[in-house]
């Protein structure tokens, strides 16, 4: 009887300890992963981490602040191409091109978001869908700049420093892993800060949020642009890790994948979309034997998830724990 009646503080402490242990275990596993597994699995892990950064940043915009968007893959692509072109054509080192590409995507998203976010709900969602496709078409057709459907090759790897080089698979893996941890930690800090509460208030009821003094237009553009900027950084890492870019990587399918991963994990929970990214990447890889079928199977699986638990995996976890509804 006594241990069922825990005070709120004790319960919070227990949950926190348990969460910290889970996070530590996951981080430790990811840290030793390239040492103990094959190169193929390391590649898959890199993809999963990049997708985790994408869905995490997507969750900031759509999960926490509200506006549904379908163009996260486009921001990812702009970041990738911006970073690749800055190194290839302008001769910048990666360490300059990387932050620059993030800043460029941030500014670009702000320019799109400022007029675009005046649209409400579905109208904005549809706009972002076409915007995403527009970016894909621009990348595909600006042959003189992006090499169009031929893609970009020979993108340099990040320059080494202090004796560390990023030419090997393992060292590049660690670079992406560390950035992933930093990005997720930053997002976690943001959504749990005072700003996070303000963003949630916009998602829950924009009118009321304005009534208590929130400049909702500003915060929506800010959340949209920060989410986009982080996606741009992920794109830059992708470009310099795989060292070749092709427009189809950033076609509408990527944006859809991000939305699906976030939905599977549970929007507005941050950790959910990140787990969702891992699971979906894994399933897609496992189903490589049937490339034509995997999206069909996957779509059916998605519909099933949404029927069983619309709040995604995190909703399921909460239901199993029997906690708050």
């Amino acid at each position: 009887m006594t241990d069922t009646v825990l005070t709120k503080k004790q319960r919070q402490k227990r949950t926190r300890t348990r969460n910290l242990i889970i996070i530590a275990v996951v981080l430790a596993l990811l840290a030793i992963l390239p040492q103990v597994t094959s190169d193929y699995i390391t590649y898959v892990a890199v993809l999963a981490i990049i997708y985790a950064i994408l869905t995490g940043s997507y969750d900031l915009t759509t999960g926490y602040t509200g506006p549904l968007t379908f163009c996260h893959g486009a921001f990812y692509g702009i970041g990738a191409y911006a970073s690749a072109l800055l190194t290839l054509k302008a001769g910048f080192p990666f360490w300059v091109a990387f932050p620059l590409s993030g800043i460029m995507v941030f500014i670009f998203a702000a320019i799109i978001g400022y007029p675009g976010l005046r649209l409400q709900g579905h109208y904005f969602a549809v706009t972002t869908f076409f915007f995403g496709h527009f970016i894909y078409l621009v990348i595909l057709n600006s042959v003189s700049l992006t090499n169009g459907p031929m893609g970009l090759r020979n993108i340099p790897p990040p320059e080494g420093f202090l004796g560390i080089t990023f030419t090997s698979l393992n060292s590049s893996y660690y670079l992406i892993f560390i950035f992933g941890v930093i990005a997720v930690a930053f997002l976690y800090f943001l959504v749990n800060s005072g700003i996070g509460k303000i963003l949630i208030s916009i998602r829950e009821n924009e009118e009321l949020s304005q009534a208590i003094g929130v400049n909702t237009a500003l915060y929506k553009v800010l959340a949209f642009s920060i989410g986009a900027g982080i996606a741009g950084l992920a794109g830059s890492l992708f470009a310099h890790f795989f060292r070749l870019l092709h427009p189809t990587t950033f076609a509408w399918m990527t944006s859809e994948m991000v939305v699906i991963m976030a939905l599977v994990g549970g929007l507005g929970t941050l950790i959910g979309p990140i787990i969702g990214a891992g699971i979906v990447t894994l399933i897609l890889e496992l189903m490589r034997f049937a490339p034509e079928f995997r999206f069909i199977i996957w779509s059916v699986a998605l519909i099933a998830v949404l029927i069983i638990e619309p709040r995604g995996l995190m909703g399921l976890v909460r239901r199993i724990q029997g906690g708050k509804k």
Partner: protein, 246 residues
């Protein structure tokens, strides 16, 4: 000398429909003003114009000597005008505590809420008798409670003027009495000016020192509750039958 809130020739048209028709009135600091009228009389439209949600078709609104008509809602909130909504849709996924805290953060943003902000939330929760629900998710509470939470959140922002839109709809008599007492203490102890739109006649007659009656967007009468209740035009237009209140 200008009044605390000065509304001059305020007009709002939606297409061809005149919702608010050249109304002029003023509110003194510390006053409790009621606005009544049948459905569609323009009460909420007037609120929406004061709070910045609608732009007036014509006319001006001045608050503490500054023109506020045309400003955005968040600017008006930052200037010290709080409001509640007729249909309360509070921030459902937040706890009651966080809901009130968000109002404070909206006015003074801190990445980590300060100790004073936490203290103030505690104080507001005690004052509005919501302390028992502090860890409940807002969406699990009744609509009436959600309206109280919105009121508490507005109070947290430290307003000088509160616009209360049908705060008491759907409450029991006991709850109405409690709310009236609470509103009186908000007005008298905290010095917050109140403008109240309400359909519960008994409540508004007891609470307000002065009442404005709207009908089809026009002010048809104003005065003390007693004067208004005995006004012939009001009785004809609104109360329907001759009755005396208060």
């Amino acid at each position: 000398m200008s009044a605390f809130l000065e509304v001059k020739n305020l007009r709002k048209e939606f297409g061809g429909v005149v919702a608010v028709d050249d109304n002029t009135f003023s509110v003194q600091q510390g006053e409790r003003l009621g606005i009544i009228g049948p459905n569609g009389a323009g009460k909420t439209t007037t609120f929406n114009m004061i709070a910045g949600y609608f732009k007036p078709t014509a006319g001006t609104i001045e608050y503490e000597g500054r023109k506020i008509s045309g400003l955005k809602p968040h600017k008006i909130s930052q200037m010290g005008i709080g409001r509640t909504f007729q249909i309360a849709r509070a921030f459902g996924e937040m706890t009651v505590y966080d809901h009130v805290l968000t109002g404070l953060l909206a006015h003074h943003l801190h990445l980590r809420p300060t100790a004073e902000q936490h203290e103030r939330v505690e104080y507001i929760l005690e004052l509005t008798k919501l302390a028992a629900f502090r860890d409940n998710l807002v969406k699990n509470l009744t609509i009436a409670s959600q309206r109280r939470i919105v009121l508490a959140t507005a109070l947290g922002t430290g307003p000088k003027l509160l616009l209360l839109d049908e705060l008491m709809a759907g409450l029991t008599f006991v709850e109405i009495d409690e709310t009236l007492e609470e509103l009186r203490s908000i007005n008298e102890k905290m010095g917050i000016t109140l403008i109240v739109v309400e359909h519960v006649m008994k409540a508004i007659m007891q609470l307000c020192q002065r009442i404005i009656v709207l009908n089809y967007g026009k002010i048809i009468a104003q005065g003390t509750p007693k004067e208004v209740a005995n006004d012939k035009t009001v009785i004809e237009a609104y109360l329907g039958e001759e009755e005396t209140y208060a």
